[in-house]
Structures are given as structure tokens and as C-alpha cells.
């Protein structure tokens, strides 16, 4: 696969921005900031879910040059709360059988989840399945909105490993929102801080601070 870079140029939405930054292929950038600062809004804008202006480029794909569904599939946003609309888990996958056993095992699940009822899933199970569903879509980039917020410590470690492995082996740029400074120090090479008025501050290397 082509090693893509996520390049955001003068991204504006609502009355926020402009945001300009680059995330290199295989690089994990942590994004922290107070609740309500607009971190999720930034991820939504990058996924083109809200009206916005500015240039967004992932590898050689220009957001405005492809249909929006193609762009969203390519940038892979994991929302803080996942959505499920059909009866069983398997119904939400185009082809459940094609899912790698290893990926299910990596989030502590096995093939039997295919027939599980959505109404009986716990928050943590939904979150882990949402990650499997997202990766199964093979996005070229990952935008993660508190991906481990509802998980216990053992699951957190496994999910971090899975996502980092995807980032490194696929060369996918990754933007990881978290409230946990220790987690960001573990996973990211670079840190952005979003302050209350929505400005984005590049605070440099994650390991310098912790």
C-alpha cells in the first residue's frame, strides 16, 4: 500500500480554525484538551461530517475530489460512542467471515460474536467491536475519539497494541484523542493540545513531558 500522509490545510468549520497540520505515514499523534474544547468536532470535520472549508489530503487522495463516502471510508473515524442499527453483530459487517481471527482475539473476542444480539452487548464490547469493524474497513488513516474510554486495563493494553500495530504495518497516520496523559505518552510520538477557545497547539514530542 502507498504510504500516505494526512495533510490538513486551513481547515475551518463553524467558527473554528484555521487548522493546518501534517501527520506522517505510520505516525501516531496524540490529541488532548479539556472536554468541550472541540476535539471531537475536529475529527468530525476531517471526516467531512460537518460543513467545512480548506484542503484535506491523504496520500494522493484529495477530500474534495472523491465522493464523501469514499473519503470517510478512507480516513476511518472511530466515534466516542459507536452506533449499531441491526439485530446481530454479524449483520453490521459486509463479510463477517473475512475477519481475521487474530484481530478478534486481539480484542479478547472470538468468532461466536457474529450471532450475538446488539441489545445484550456491554459498552466495552460495543467499543471493541467498533474497532474491529473500523479496521475491517481497511482505512488508510485512523482518527480515534477516546478509543479505550470504556475498557478495563487489560483490554486497554490489547487495544493499544492492535491499533499501534495497524498504524505501523499499514503505514497509517493516526490521530488519537485521549484524556489520559499516560496513555498518550505510551502510544504517541507527537502531541497536540487543544485549548478551550479551539486553538491547536503543537506541544512536540510526547515523551519529553512525561
Amino acid at each position: 500500500m502507498l504510504m500516505p500522509t494526512l495533510a490538513i490545510n486551513n481547515l475551518r468549520f463553524q467558527n473554528r480554525g484555521p487548522y493546518s497540520f501534517r501527520i506522517e505515514a505510520g505516525e501516531c499523534v496524540g490529541l488532548q484538551g479539556d472536554s468541550g474544547a472541540g476535539k471531537s468536532l475536529l475529527l468530525r470535520a476531517i471526516a467531512d461530517l460537518d460543513p467545512r472549508t480548506g484542503l484535506m489530503q491523504l496520500g494522493d487522495i484529495n477530500a474534495d475530489a472523491v465522493a464523501a463516502p469514499v473519503w470517510r471510508r478512507t480516513v476511518g473515524l472511530l466515534p466516542a460512542e459507536s452506533g449499531w442499527w441491526l439485530e446481530s453483530v454479524g449483520d453490521h459487517f459486509a463479510d463477517f467471515d473475512a475477519i481475521d481471527d487474530g484481530m478478534l482475539a486481539a480484542v479478547g473476542l472470538d468468532r461466536s460474536v457474529q450471532t450475538w444480539q446488539i441489545s445484550r452487548l456491554s459498552t466495552g464490547e460495543k467499543q471493541r467491536l467498533a474497532i474491529v469493524r473500523l479496521l475491517h474497513n481497511q482505512p488508510h488513516c485512523l482518527l480515534l475519539d477516546e478509543p479505550t474510554a470504556s475498557l478495563d486495563q487489560g483490554a486497554v493494553t490489547r487495544v493499544e497494541e492492535l491499533l499501534l500495530a495497524y498504524c505501523k504495518t499499514q503505514g497509517a497516520p493516526m490521530l488519537w484523542v485521549s484524556h489520559d496523559p499516560a496513555q498518550l505518552a505510551r502510544i504517541s510520538e507527537h502531541l497536540f493540545l487543544m485549548v478551550t477557545d479551539g486553538r491547536l497547539i503543537d506541544t512536540g514530542g510526547a515523551h519529553d513531558e512525561c
Binding site: A47, D48, L49, D50, P51, A67, A68, P69, V70, R72, R73, L77, P79, E81, S82, G83, W84, W85, R133, L134, N137
Partner: protein, 268 residues
């Protein structure tokens, strides 16, 4: 054969039933009294008025008058559709979707019935045209209003799921497929149900009126069947067009769910 005319005293007797209902509403704190009074007053005034207008129209048959009154009926129906939405689409567009879909369906079906099926000379003979258009518009209005309300309300409540589907790469059309279907069904259910029970549970109003007016029951039944089919076709077409219109308005060219086109929820 003539209908026994009703005196104002007869109508006042019927109105006393509503007063009784109003008393219940007050006693049980249903808060319906005001609405009931306004609706009853509107029914009385509007029907008396249309009675006079129809008398004039029957005496002076002219296509200009017919166009005028049908436009007034359409505009009133369009306003009513907007009024019945919990969250209507802001501005002229919301009005246009409802009104446009009713115009397309009711007017073309009425025209077809008058011109091809009934075949009076002239085709716009008011005695046929106005009741037909009225029944079609009234039923289409209910279907369109129900369908649009269901659609906007469900999109609002399920925005998280819809955006999740968009995020996974579905198009707007794929993401709302089930909601679109439910909304069209919601709009069409009343007429489908009333076709299914016509004659068994209830005698439809028009047929009852014709029989009261002295027509033979068989003639009345034939007309009622015709009307049921026309209403069903009109309601179905109108609802489908309206729902597609809502869908177009609530998603933009980049397949984004644009709930900002909805006005805030209204108090009912």
C-alpha cells in the same frame, strides 16, 4: 328525492355534545378545551363559508374560479402540513416540499379522474371537481404530514446511528433506507387500513352522504370504490415525493446529515 334539511337547533343539539366533552376535559384536566373550541368554531365557519362559495361556483361555472379555489385549498393544505410537523424544515423549502408533493399527486390524480374516468363536459364541472379534489387533498395532506413528521423525527433521534453509517462509508441513501421506508409506510397506513375495513367496520363518509342524499346504494358504492383507489394512489405518490424531498433537503451533496435545516421542536 330530497334530504331533510337541518335547522340551527339541530346543529346546536350536536354542539351541546362538544360542550359536554369540554366539561370532561376541564374536570379531568386534559387541557383540550381551548383546542376543541377553536377546532369546532373553525369547522363551523369554514364549512358555512365553503357552502356559500360552492353555491356561487355551481351557478357560475368557469375554469378561472375553479383554479382560484383549488389554489386556495392547496395553500391551506400546505400550511397545515407544516403546522403538523414537530420539527419542520426551515423556511420556504419546508412548505414547498409538502405543498409541491400534494400538488403533483392530488392534482394529477384528480385531473385523471375527472378527464378520463368521469368524463363530464366540461371536465371541471364543480359539483364533481371540488369534492374530488377536496377528498384527495385532505387525505394526501394527512399522509404527507404523517410521513414527513416521522422522517424528520426519526432522523433527529437516530442521528448518531446515521452518522455512524456514513462514517463507515455508506451513502446518504443507504444510511436512511430503513427510515425512508418506515416513513412512507407511516404515511400510507391510514388509507390502506381504511380500504381494508371499508364496509365492514365503517361506511365511508362520501358514500354515506350520497345515500343520505338519495342515491342508490350501488351507485354510491361504485363512487366510493373509485374514491378509495384515487385517494390511495394520491396519498402514496404524494408521500413518496415528500419523503424523497425531505431526504434531499436533510443531506447535502457531501452526504452530511444536515439537522440544522430543521426548526426547533414546537410546543404542541
Amino acid at each position: 328525492m330530497n334530504v331533510k334539511p337541518l335547522s340551527p337547533v339541530d346543529l346546536a343539539l350536536a354542539a351541546s355534545l362538544l360542550v359536554l366533552l369540554g366539561l370532561f376535559s376541564w374536570r379531568l384536566q386534559l387541557g383540550l378545551g381551548r383546542q376543541l373550541a377553536i377546532a369546532a368554531a373553525r369547522t363551523t365557519v369554514q364549512l358555512l363559508l365553503i357552502g356559500q362559495i360552492l353555491r356561487l361556483l355551481f351557478a357560475h361555472v368557469h375554469i378561472g374560479y375553479m383554479l382560484l379555489i383549488s389554489m386556495v385549498m392547496l395553500a391551506a393544505a400546505g400550511r397545515e402540513v407544516v403546522e403538523r410537523q414537530q420539527r419542520s424544515i426551515r423556511g420556504l423549502h419546508g412548505w414547498l416540499i409538502g405543498t409541491g408533493s400534494m400538488f403533483l399527486s392530488s392534482f394529477s390524480v384528480t385531473f385523471l379522474a375527472l378527464f378520463v374516468i368521469i368524463g363530464n363536459v366540461p371536465w371541471y364541472t364543480p359539483q364533481y371537481a371540488i369534492p374530488l379534489l377536496g377528498m384527495l387533498l385532505g387525505n394526501t395532506m394527512s399522509g404527507v404530514a404523517l410521513g414527513m413528521d416521522r422522517m424528520t423525527e426519526t432522523l433527529w433521534q437516530q442521528r448518531q446511528v446515521i452518522e455512524q453509517r456514513l462514517l463507515l462509508g455508506q451513502t446518504a441513501g443507504q444510511a436512511v433506507r430503513e427510515i425512508r421506508r418506515q416513513s412512507i409506510r407511516a404515511g400510507m397506513m391510514p388509507i390502506i387500513n381504511s380500504m381494508a375495513t371499508a364496509g365492514l367496520v365503517s361506511l365511508p363518509g362520501m358514500m354515506t352522504g350520497q345515500i343520505l342524499g338519495g342515491s342508490s346504494p350501488l351507485d354510491a358504492v361504485h363512487y366510493q370504490i373509485l374514491i378509495m383507489f384515487l385517494i390511495c394512489a394520491g396519498t402514496g405518490l404524494g408521500t413518496i415525493v415528500a419523503i424523497l424531498g425531505v431526504e434531499r433537503k436533510l443531506f447535502d451533496a457531501r452526504h452530511r446529515l444536515r439537522l440544522d435545516v430543521l426548526s426547533p421542536v414546537r410546543d404542541s
